[in-house]
Amino acid sequence: MASEQASFLGETGQLVRAVGRAMGVTFKNLLRRPITVRYPTVKRVYPDRFRGILALTYDPQTGEENCIGCRLCEYICPPQVIKVEMLKAEKRNFAKTFTLELYACEFCELCVQVCPTDAIIMMKSFDLATADRRELLLDKDRLHALGLQFDPSWATGNRLRDMQAPPKPAKAAAAPAAEATVPAQSPPDRRAPAAGAAAPAHNSPDRRAPEASAGAPTANTE
């Protein structure tokens, strides 16, 4: 009887301790700062390689479209959402029409990886929710407009292919991107940095038409 009583008390003691521990964990989290990012008022900082909406680019020096209508992206796209028609011209070719069905796109970045002229890139945004699916059937004008509207991701075709090549001797002025290091044991601050934060240095040419706003791709290799 004594041992039964003892084990009953022991079990009750264990129950009380366990309850206390569980409620202690919950209480500790009550005092932590919530990790919610109040999107869309506050936007999260997207990493450099974010794979967002696709867009076409202009050559910053000449102002011409980068796309030469080679159709490599059309061939490599797994769900076959890209359709291109080539327009032959004297010095170089262009794309006559370029349609991309964003509603079926997988965002796998293979088209970006294959593009020889860095014409098609992905943007650091995914804000294209719409009530009409036809708005997601992007034609060439829309794709170029998107290229000027959002921040481009770091990844362009040449950069991705260079990344896979054997490492060359260290290049000059490859400043590492400013990824915020956070103190241990507390959730990272996902809110967008204050307006005065310095933009990371870059050593690649601006890949957009001269009228574009600031926000160039940043260097991202070690």
């Binding site: 079990e11 264990q14 129950l15 301790r17 366990a18 309850v19 521990r21 569980a22 202690g24 964990v25 919950t26 500790k28 989290n29 990790i35 990493p47 450099d48 390689r49 974010f50 794979r51 490599l72 490599i76 796209c77 797994p78 997988e106 965002f107 796998c108 970045e109 293979l110 990886q113 294959v114 992905m122 991701s153 990844a155 991705l160 292919r161 260079d162 990344m163 896979q164 090549a165 054997p166 490492p167 590492p176 991107a177 400013a178 990824e179 290091t181 956070v182 103190p183 241990a184 044991q185 507390s186 959730p187 990272p188 260097a219 991202n220 290799t221 070690e222």
Partner: protein
């Protein structure tokens, strides 16, 4: 579903209840037609196939370069595993070399993916047992908070949070960006500390123990016969982990422990996965400490998007995913596309154990058992 109500000799009624494809705890689209006597399950008829998307036929129409990002959609919770299985099969049959740095990066990705997948498992399992408006949801949100940190790492590495397209035949597509190793170490430290918190919340909690100990016992013989793998196997006393038994992608270089428990119940599987958490973090740290320099792909640059022509042959490559053995059997015919691809989904084989362990348990235990089996229906139905 027509309802059948039979009155037996003892006056016991049997009720056929449908835990339908739309259910908060079905872990996906899964239909279990339970035959109940009161609160006890006496029979189960599992219906799958609601998520069949013809992956194997689709693979025959896509080249070896195009398919890895589709492969991640089989086990969408642990996408790196499925991609690795596919590219390993291609490299096996095509005799394509993988550079050392790529192998180590693959290990890193696989182990981080295991951490993220187990976070989701813990969260959804506790939510099934505790309700969406209750203590389960608290553990769910904490676990998702940790998973989001790991997904942030993947997002900085590849640009995507869930379906990566990180692997390609010959190596990986992306290399580590600047500052990533520090971010990774910080995240690993934080996840390790938080796992300690979850264990404190659950481990000696009598409510949790009474829900999981002795529930859903898979005996050692049953586990061996049925063909389960992963934590289900190791929770029933069989020490079999592909990372040690048939090492792939440089796993033989790493020191880690494979947890084995003998009880075979839900609690044993829980312990196996909690130890796997910590061991995965240990492996990830070892990779970060000793990552070799070199190319990340043996088909770099323009070749990475060029066609891979795999000569005629067939082979089976398997990896140890978070749920068990994920395998890819590839039959190649010399062209740029496979002739036939067969996926061995870990969850598909794990689910086959249900008709053997469910009869005799209460309805409430069905969800606990389903959660500890941890199926992902992309893998089951492909």
């Amino acid at each position: 579903m027509p309802e059948t109500l039979e009155i037996g000799y003892g006056g016991s009624e049997r009720l056929t209840m449908n835990m339908g494809p739309q259910h908060p705890s079905a872990h996906g689209v899964f239909r279990a037609i339970l035959t109940l006597e009161g609160e006890t399950v006496v029979g189960v008829d599992a219906v799958i196939g609601y998520l069949h998307r013809c992956h194997e036929k689709l693979a025959e129409t896509l080249t070896y370069v195009q398919y890895p990002s589709i492969a991640s959609k089989t086990d969408y919770v642990a996408a790196m595993t499925a991609e690795l299985a596919y590219v390993s099969a291609v490299e096996l049959v095509g005799k394509i070399e993988v550079p050392r740095r790529a192998q180590w990066l693959r290990v890193l990705a696989a182990e981080l993916q295991r951490v993220a997948s187990h976070c989701l498992w813990l969260g959804t399992w506790c939510m099934d047992m505790g309700g969406a408006l209750g203590g389960g949801a608290t553990v769910f949100l904490y676990a998702i908070r940790e998973r989001e940190d790991v997904l942030d790492l993947f997002e900085a590495l590849t640009g995507a949070r869930l379906l990566y397209g990180f692997h390609q035949p010959g190596g990986t597509r992306y290399d580590l960006p600047a500052g990533w190793t520090e971010q990774c170490r910080t995240t690993l430290d934080r996840v390790e500390q938080r796992i300690g918190e979850y264990e404190a919340m659950l481990e000696d909690n009598p409510f949790f123990l009474v829900r999981t100990q002795g529930v859903g016992v898979i005996s050692r013989e049953l586990a061996q016969e049925i063909g389960v793998s992963g934590p289900l196997l190791r929770g029933s006393g069989i020490d079999h982990d592909l990372r040690k038994a048939a090492p792939y992608s440089s796993y033989e270089h790493f020191q880690f422990r494979v947890p084995v428990e003998t009880a075979g119940d839900c609690f044993a599987r829980y312990r196996v996965r909690m130890v796997e958490f910590r061991e995965s973090i240990r492996i990830a740290r070892q990779v970060l400490d000793g990552l070799p320099e070199g190319p990340i792909s043996s088909r770099p640059g323009v070749k990475s998007v060029g066609q891979v022509r795999v000569p005629k042959g067939e082979g089976y490559a398997r990896v140890e995913g978070a749920r068990g053995e994920v395998g890819c059997y590839l039959v190649a015919d010399g062209g740029p596309k496979p002739y036939r691809l067969k996926w061995r989904g870990a969850s598909f084989s794990n689910l086959s154990v249900l008709p053997h362990i469910l009869p005799g348990v209460k309805v409430a235990d069905v969800v606990a058992i389903m959660g500890s089996v941890d199926p992902v229906f992309g893998e089951v139905d492909r």
